[in-house]
Amino acid sequence: MAITRDEVAHLARLARLDLDEAELAQMAGQLDAILGAVARVSEVASDDVPPTSHAVPLTNVLREDVVAPCLTPEQALSGAPAAQDGRFRVPRILGEEP
């Protein structure tokens, strides 16, 4: 097994997903298959190929510090489930600030 049931439970908690035992077992199996497939990449990776996080060989893509138009508050809030006083209204926050 590349991933255990407990690791899946931990990830589910971090992702705020409420998974029951059956779902945990199912996810563990599926994730294990995915990880197994991905692991095949490391079989062909050789020492002279550095790990890469980006598919394009670019660096320093930067923009000048210039102000561009923004959305209006109406536009910004138009997709929000709830708004109040020009602000996004969110349910009671459980737990503390990060």
Binding site: E64, D65, F88
Partner: protein, 499 residues
């Protein structure tokens, strides 16, 4: 809750180790990854766009000025600049970021391994800088329905994303041992120095009261002679230079209380309470957070060229340490004089007063005297008082011209501080001017001689130092509005004695 141990007593038994994490909001025109403006105090959600709201299909592009700013700060802090590094995604669920993650840097910060020297009570402390990295600031939440606007007991929260995405630099020190009882002062001196460097570099307005400079203070204590450091607490919400000092001091006393009572210090986040000067427990950090950092796929790596770095290094302005050394030389001050000036936060004010024409000595006297006293009483910085270097230079000029003596000048300063106008206006409205009318002064001198014939006789007989008593009598008669030197000269002249 365990009792606090008095600070001095805590220091007899324990040795503190401090560490500081300072966040500096950069003063760029636009945000870190989008073109939204960064004005402070704008109406909620008027400075947002698809990118900083994390709407689907939007892509971030890094702000060149922000990258330049952090490299310049890194160089000023004697750091190495990474030849290649990446941004990372910090994943968490909290509505202050609409994306459910924050773009930050993780194991590849752009600046590493630097130091900053600070001076406290004539001794230099080298504060190791572990890393300086770039991230985006978060939005601001307003908690509604709770008793005090705090999260606890709130029914819901309202979020403004104007601040989300403003470039934010985090400067993290290495643990700093060996400061002993001066730990609070060293912490404050470090944050002050860092603030001054940012100000000198022009990369941030570093206003703690507006949150553009924020500080977290880590404190641990261990019994003296112990080989291992203690468990540390991390105090957040330390929003003024004075609070940095108070928070560290309080944590030392609190932790000593816990250990003395046989308890153990919990690794946790604590919040500083400005009103009481204490810290209260926040979240426990016993279980490490799991932010599942990974390289930000939407941003390509940064690879500042050596040429670019050297170009930025060559263009660095004179930094605060060099400037202080220069001013100390120009003004011919001892180390202690200089430190007094810095501690009073009066360096800029004195420099500007000198630039406005006053002598360094006179400028220093007023800023460290009357004005510093008032700032201390009001619990503010001297620069926050309603008196400008130009005002002080004007008072000094009036004294130099002989129109004011010291005592009157003090009243003029008082008047300016009370909002009565410019020094000239205060002089006019309070009727403060040295009695230079030699006629009126002559009469007062004659009266003093007549009333103190015995003393006058001694002076005529050569005991010139006795003149002080007569000068005093004249000053009293003119309610202090005479120039003592003029009075003295006049008395001696009338008595036919030369000094």
């Amino acid at each position: 809750m365990t009792a606090l141990v008095p600070y001095e007593q805590a220091l007899e038994a324990y040795e503190p180790v401090i560490g500081l994490e300072v966040h500096v909001e950069l003063g760029t025109n636009s945000k870190m990854f989008c073109g939204c403006p960064t004005e402070f105090g704008a109406e909620p959600n008027t400075q947002v766009c698809p990118t900083c709201l994390g709407l689907p299909g939007s892509l971030p592009v890094a702000n060149k000025k922000a990258i330049e700013s952090i490299i310049r700060l890194g160089l000023a802090l004697n750091c190495s600049i990474a030849p290649w590094c990446r941004f990372a995604r910090k994943n968490y669920f909290y509505p202050d970021m609409p994306k459910d993650f924050q773009i930050s840097q993780y194991d590849e910060p752009i600046c590493v391994e630097g130091y900053l020297d600070v001076e406290v009570e004539g001794k230099t402390y080298r504060i190791g800088i572990e890393r300086v990295h770039l991230e985006e600031d978060t939005g601001k939440s307003l908690h509604v329905g709770g008793a005090t606007g705090r999260i606890h007991g709130a029914s819901h929260s309202l979020v403004d994303y104007n601040r989300a995405g403003i470039p934010l630099v985090e400067v993290v020190t290495k643990p700093v041992p060996g400061t002993g009882a001066l730990a609070p002062e060293v912490a404050k001196a470090y944050v002050t120095e860092l603030r001054d460097i940012c100000k000198t570099l022009g990369i941030s307005d570093v206003k703690m009261e507006q949150g553009s400079l924020r500080c977290d203070a880590n404190v641990s204590i261990a019994p003296r002679g112990a080989t291992e450091w203690g468990t540390r607490s991390e105090t957040k919400n330390v929003n003024s230079l004075r609070s940095v000092e108070r928070a560290v001091r309080h944590e030392i006393s609190r932790q000593a209380g816990v250990l003395d009572a046989g308890g153990r210090v919990v690794q946790e986040t604590r919040h500083f309470q400005e009103d009481s000067g204490t810290t209260v427990s926040g979240r426990s950090k016993e279980t490490a957070e799991d932010y599942r950092y990974f390289p930000e796929p939407d941003l390509v790596p940064l690879a500042p060229s050596a040429d670019w770095i050297e170009e930025l290094r060559a263009a660095l302005p004179e930094l605060p340490t060099a400037r202080r050394r220069r001013l100390q030389g120009d003004w011919d001050l001892t180390d202690l004089d200089m430190e007094a000036l810095i501690n009073a936060g009066a360096l800029d004010s004195v420099e500007e007063t000198v630039a406005a024409g006053a002598s360094a000595e006179a400028a220093r006297k007023w800023w460290l005297g009357e004005i510093a006293r008032r700032a201390n009483e009001d619990g503010v910085e001297v620069s926050a008082l309603p008196i400008t270097p130009a005002d002080v230079a004007a008072v000094v000029a009036l004294v130099d011209a002989g129109s004011l003596n010291d005592k009157l000048a003090r009243q003029v300063i008082e008047g300016v501080l009370a909002g009565e106008g410019t020094p000239e206006q205060v002089v006019a409205s309070r009727g403060l001017a040295v009695v230079s009318d030699t006629g009126a002064l002559g009469t007062a001198v004659d009266a003093a001689i007549a009333a103190n014939e015995g003393i006058a006789e001694k002076i005529r007989g050569g005991k010139v130092q006795a003149v002080g008593a007569l000068v005093g009598a004249v000053m009293k008669e003119t309610r202090g509005q005479a120039d003592a030197a003029t009075v003295k000269a006049l008395i001696l002249e009338k008595l036919g004695v030369s000094e």
